[in-house]
């Protein structure tokens, strides 16, 4: 029987202190567990909850209760930053997450820089900050994870992504300028979340994957700007998780250079090998989302046991969950970890 609260367990892991068993979490943002099955049961639904702090709080609680994940994760999308920075957003449906309808700038050379304080009072930022505050006050034992979209992904959400990726090589000066701007904004957003009850920050940067960027661009841009943001968050005395999607073989040796507290990876990555290669890294992941949608509870439990046996520090899904993932499968994941 454990007397450690979920919040304490997660903080202890991130601080490299001893614990009874790994926490099992689903951070939120791009990796959230607001599946259709839960929303149809409780009636607290998306897309409404994207815009309303009371609904967002209730949905967060529903998710935590029904799935067994040991955290709250807000928001339920990756479009908050792009929206305040100017891109147009399609807010999606019950089953389909919000997406970028149109990136606001055609090129890194045409980015209009806004005042960051002004940005922080726009869009849905206040909604999310309020939600974090409610949840942290009402449920002090459960960690509130505030989610940021990473710098590369945010940049690729406000400049046409195909052009942006080319301009990483073609127009380096303006690419760097854009990423400085985006990073400064993200640090201030993180500060707002932390000051209002977020226990920690999780940064999801799918576009920053080694698969897309390759080692040269990864080092020049992804590592540099992630670290800028990580240093900013650490200065606020809060821990951080970074999630990067995809196959990381080409940037394997660059991963320990990311100054994150925990690194969360996709199913393709051999987390056990990562941990062995870099013992000081706190590993998080990486149960296949394919398994969570199409598998059986038995298979999920088996795969979870493997992750536990491999000594993975924080157990979580590998990437964004399908909204039609079954609760039974998700509960097999969380249940297996808690039985440990």
């Amino acid at each position: 029987m454990s007397i450690i609260s979920p919040k304490e367990r997660l903080l202890r892991v991130l601080n490299k202190e001893s614990i009874d068993r790994p926490p099992v979490i689903c951070p939120g943002g791009m990796m959230n567990a607001a599946v259709v099955e839960i929303m149809n049961t409780t009636g607290h639904t998306l897309p409404e909850a994207h815009h309303n702090d009371r609904l967002m709080s209730e949905l967060s609680k529903d998710v935590q209760e029904h799935t067994g994940f040991e955290n709250f994760g807000i928001p339920f999308c990756m479009t908050v930053e792009a929206e305040v920075l100017g891109s147009s957003i399609d807010f999606g449906t019950l089953a389909c997450e919000p997406k970028i309808k149109k990136e606001v700038f055609p090129s890194v050379s045409e980015v209009r820089v806004e005042n960051i304080s002004k940005l922080l009072h726009s869009g849905r930022i206040d909604t999310i900050v309020q939600t974090g505050y409610h949840l942290s006050e009402k449920f002090p034992d459960v960690p509130v994870i505030g989610n940021l979209t990473g710098p590369i992904s945010t940049a690729a959400s406000i400049v046409d992504p195909m052009t942006f990726l080319k301009e990483l090589r073609k127009d380096q000066s303006n690419a760097h300028k854009l990423l400085e701007y985006v990073s400064d904004f993200l640090v201030e957003y993180a500060k707002l979340l932390i000051d209002n009850g977020a226990t920690l920050i999780s940064i999801g940067d799918p576009t920053a994957t080694g698969e897309i960027l390759g080692p040269k661009m990864f080092e020049e841009y992804a590592v540099k700007y992630l670290n800028k943001i990580l240093d900013g968050i650490h200065a606020l005395k809060a821990p951080v998780i970074v999630h990067i999607c995809g196959n990381m073989n080409t940037v394997w040796n660059l991963m320990p250079g990311i100054r994150t507290d925990a690194l969360s990876t996709d199913a393709l990555v051999n987390l056990k090998l990562l941990k062995e290669s870099f013992p000081s890294l706190i590993t998080m992941g990486n149960l296949s989302t394919y398994l969570l949608e199409f598998g059986t509870p038995e298979k999920v439990a088996l795969q979870t046991e493997k992750l536990l046996a491999d000594g993975i520090d924080i157990i979580s899904p590998a990437c964004g969950l399908s909204t039609s993932s079954s609760l039974k499968n998700i509960q097999a994941l969380t249940g297996t970890v808690k039985e440990q």
Binding site: P161, L165, K166, R169, S324
Partner: protein, 223 residues
């Protein structure tokens, strides 16, 4: 004359691999000045370079930024040479309807497949992203396509691919088109499960797959 041709086409290929848009423009203009065959210059010069770039991508030397710049270099040259292509005796190209399935907006992979298939001589109808299954079928019918190519990066939207095949069966036209699929969560076993005609792991592989599937298929003439 033929030596000059080989040298020039070789330089075109090199310029694409070197991501040098200015150079492909200069060289393409030289092709025209020398009155060399524009189609051959594209095929043996620019496309040849793009294929080499695709190979470097498969070998993990080039990544997306590099590949996109190579394709820019290629297209800059193509834009100059295209008006000078002699029309006769070229033969019809197989058409491919491509897009990202409904609910998903990740289109980098799809864009790469489009570039590589065009390079390989297919005629691409790009529907874009977030495309309902019925639209794929409708456009394929309308254009007499040989292949429907479906892309998704998300687990949630994979079912859309099965839906396209379901619609084709329901309209009794399943045999008229080859359906190929790709994307992060996609696998050969998923392709088998939904009875797709093929799965490719990356853009270069998509070219091999598309060629294999159309080698004995006549090009549909009109509708």
């Amino acid at each position: 004359m033929s030596n000059n041709k080989a040298v020039l086409f070789g330089k075109l290929s090199e310029a694409v691999v070197n991501m040098d848009e200015q150079e492909t423009v200069i060289l393409s203009n030289e092709v025209i000045r020398e009155e060399l065959d524009a189609y051959d210059a594209i095929d043996q010069g620019l496309s040849h370079g793009m294929e080499r770039a695709g190979k470097l991508y498969e070998e993990e030397e080039y990544f997306i930024p590099e590949l996109l710049m190579c394709s820019d270099a290629m297209y800059s040259g193509i834009n100059i040479l295209k008006p000078h292509i002699k029309r006769e005796g070229l033969g019809e190209k197989h058409k491919v309807v491509i897009g990202v399935v409904e609910g998903d907006t990740h289109d980098i992979g799809k864009n790469l497949v489009k570039i590589m298939l065009e390079t390989a001589g297919f005629d691409i109808i790009d529907l874009g992203r977030d495309i309902p299954p019925q639209d794929f079928v409708n456009k394929a019918k309308e254009t007499g396509a040989s292949i429907i190519a479906l892309s998704t990066l998300m687990t949630t939207t994979m079912e859309g691919m099965a839906e396209v095949i379901h619609i084709l069966k329901r309209e009794n036209i399943r045999d008229r088109f080859k359906v190929i699929i790709g994307g992060g969560p996609i696998s050969q076993s998923f392709a088998d499960k939904i009875e797709a005609d093929g799965y490719s792991v990356n853009a270069a592989d998509a070219v091999r797959l598309a060629r294999r599937l159309t080698v004995s298929v006549p090009v549909a003439v009109g509708v």
